[in-house]
């Protein structure tokens, strides 16, 4: 939990008729934090962002920004600014006028206004483009103008609604780096809405994963990737091999489960873990499985066959069938030893680390906070 909450969301719900876009969401976001709302489309992440911005009024619950209740405050009176998904650059104004748009209301003197506009343009590396017409900008430039226009207002919170989704891959990766360093430089809270798990992992201090209008898990990128709490979170954040297991013993800090081919595994017991009739799901990431070459030995080994192979350049994705397992295992192997040349049907041995398994909750609606 952050030391000083900049945003407090308390039991916020938003219904459209009987459809629950947000279902009793509570969340605290700290000052200066880079926070991501991650989830598939329709999970409520954009509705939540729009409620913070003031474009959507929750049906129930309260939103506080920097301690001030804001639930019913219109967008123009909130200390937040937004970078829209399509950037919403005013087409009838040039770049300078776009960036100065919000400053006009502050009635600054002309020199001060010019200085703030050019500082903001410097910050997003658009120095000297203030006379450029809105329709003469590339996608990346539009994105930067939208950023400058929001940052020039010196908001307490910057809201970003899928800002990178319209850019091509190279530019997106470059903008991710810039966004991160920009956030460090200005030091204000950034809230990013994204459906791209890698973007969320690469940028955020913390991530909230949402499904069906509820928050499934809030944690740091590392924790959410390595220790996902539910099956849906694990699945959304990358590949995961799911295994059915039987609970054999339960202690306060850990549990033991029995699996089909991996034997008995001891697992950390997650908070609020409640197994149903002794059957549980455990998961292991594909990259935590490793091929064993020649006479290399490992403490924990398994024998299987190559069922499928997909070449990804730097890595090869393998599907390994193992007798006694319902589902084949997927694994990711670097191509250093020739995993890309393995023939289909080849007998292989693979090594795993029992500590890499995680215990997953099956809650379809997402775990409560």
């Amino acid at each position: 939990m952050p030391d000083r909450p900049m945003i407090s969301i308390e039991n916020v719900s938003r219904y459209y008729g009987t459809y629950r876009a947000l279902d009793d969401v509570s969340l605290e976001i700290g000052a200066g934090e880079f926070f991501s709302l991650l989830g598939p489309s329709g999970c409520g992440k954009t509705t939540l962002l729009r409620s913070i911005a003031g474009f959507d009024v929750p049906t129930a619950g309260e939103i506080r920004i920097d301690g001030t209740p804001c639930t019913l405050l219109p967008a123009n009176r909130r200390p937040t600014n937004m970078v829209f998904q399509n950037y919403a650059i005013f087409p009838h104004l040039d770049v300078g006028e776009n960036v100065a748009y919000g400053l006009k209301r502050l009635k600054l003197d002309a020199a001060e206004e010019r200085r703030r506009v050019s500082d903001a343009l410097d910050q997003v590396r658009l120095t000297g483009l203030d006379k450029r017409k809105a329709n003469e900008l590339s996608g990346g430039q539009r994105q930067r103008v939208a950023l400058a226009r929001a940052l020039v207002m010196r908001p307490k919170v910057l809201l970003l609604d899928e800002p990178l989704s319209a850019l091509d891959k190279k530019l997106r990766e470059q903008m991710q780096v810039e966004l991160r360093s920009l956030q460090k430089a200005v030091g204000i809270t950034f809230i990013l809405v994204t459906h791209d798990q890698y973007e969320a992992l690469a940028l955020s201090d913390r991530i909230a994963v949402m499904f069906g209008g509820r928050i499934a898990q809030v944690a740091t990128p590392k924790e959410i990737y390595q220790r996902p709490r539910t099956r849906m979170v694990a699945d959304f954040l990358g590949g995961m091999n799911f295994l059915q297991a039987r609970l054999t013993s339960e202690r306060s800090g850990s549990v033991s489960v029995e699996t089909a081919r991996f034997g008995t595994i001891n697992l950390e017991r997650p908070k609020g873990f409640a197994p149903t009739n002794g059957h549980v799901t455990v998961g292991i990431r594909p990259e935590r499985l490793r091929l064993l070459w020649d006479d290399e030995r490992a403490p924990h080994e398994l024998v299987g066959r190559v069922e499928n192979r997909a070449y990804f350049g730097e890595v090869t994705h393998l599907t390994i069938g193992v007798d006694g397992l319902e589902q084949p295992l997927s694994m990711v192997e670097t191509n250093d030893y020739g995993a890309d040349d393995l023939p289909l049907g080849a007998e292989i041995r693979l090594a795993y680390d029992p500590d890499a398994f995680v215990l997953l909750s099956e809650d379809e609606r997402g775990a409560r906070m």
């Binding site: 123009n76 937040t80 937004m82 399509n86 919403a88 748009y101």
Partner: protein, 305 residues
């Protein structure tokens, strides 16, 4: 590539000159619009040319004297009666278009922003008055505004006035009221179209950057819908300057407009060249005023920042 191959082979049949053009997009486009184009040329360009030609000739009883003269234009521009009629016609059409646009904008805005799922129904309702004849609509305003008309009897029965107001019908106001009603639909539609094209997130961005609803409207919605406002203004203004029926029916003697004078010259006055000169002068004046209005509106919008 294929053309190079053809050129290198001497036996190849050379395409007839111009056949490349015949296959071009441009040629196909022209072919497509040719019926309309021929129609427009025959029924617009030819009569206008004739009118312009007539305006430099002289009526000599039953014959036309085809010697070139500016005499008709001198009369059209200096005779006080014509000058007054020009000014009044332009004034009435300007007021009509301003009032029409002023009334139509909120309607178009409402349909575009708050029409919800029933936008098309609203637009359909807007066009309903156009289903009856123009003449009937003008006549019905006579019934409403007349001495013993709907408005007067209505106001008297609720006790707001003691005797009928005589200044309702047969003056310039009656012409404006009638024209505004007739042209409203033609102003609502272009404004609606331009409002529909505005990306709603731009208005949200304006709100996000600190504007209240009114300022966001003035700084974003209005400038971005200006194309619609300008075309609505022109669509109403240009035809109303030369309107003949409405002034005749509800205008009385104070509502007479230039079209009545032009009609008189071509009819009873039997002075076609003067009528032609008045027509050409009207066209030029309307174009000038329209251009001035467009520039003024553009300038006014640029001032709101």
């Amino acid at each position: 590539m294929s053309s190079a191959a053809i050129a290198s082979s001497p036996e190849a049949v050379k395409p007839a000159p111009g056949s490349r053009w015949m296959r071009s997009e441009e040629a196909r486009g022209l072919a497509m619009i040719s019926p309309t184009l021929i129609y427009a040329l025959a029924l617009l360009l030819v009569p206008v040319t004739l009118v312009v030609a007539y305006s430099f000739w002289t009526q000599n009883y039953l014959e036309i004297d085809r010697t070139f003269t500016f005499e008709n234009y001198r009369q059209a521009l200096t005779e006080p009666i014509y000058r007054d009629l020009f000014i009044r016609s332009l004034w009435i059409s300007l007021v009509t278009s301003a009032v029409t646009v002023g009334f139509s904008y909120p309607v178009a805005w409402f349909i575009s922003f708050h029409g919800g799922a029933h936008k098309n129904l609203w637009l359909f309702l807007v066009t309903i008055p156009c289903w009856t004849s123009y003449l009937l609509r003008v006549m019905s305003w006579k019934v409403i505004l007349g001495y013993g008309g709907v408005l007067n009897t209505g106001l008297m029965s609720v006790g707001l006035i003691d005797e009928p107001i005589t200044s309702l019908l047969y003056n310039a106001n009656a012409v404006v009221i009638t024209l505004v009603h007739s042209w409203a639909a033609f102003a609502i539609l272009p404004i609606y179209v331009s409002l529909q094209k505005i990306d709603r997130s731009l208005i949200e961005a304006a709100r996000d950057l600190g504007d209240g609803p009114m300022r966001a409207f003035l700084r974003v919605t209005l400038p971005l819908s200006m194309a619609g406002v300008v075309s609505a203004f022109l669509i109403v203004m240009i035809p109303t300057v030369g309107d003949y029926v409405t002034p005749k029916l509800v205008g009385g003697k104070d509502g007479v407009m230039i079209a009545t004078a032009i009609q008189a010259q071509f009819g009873k006055g039997a002075n076609w060249p003067l009528g032609a000169a008045l027509s050409v002068t009207t066209m030029v004046l309307v174009s000038l005023v329209a251009a001035a209005v467009v520039l003024a509106l553009r300038f006014a919008v640029r001032r709101i920042r």
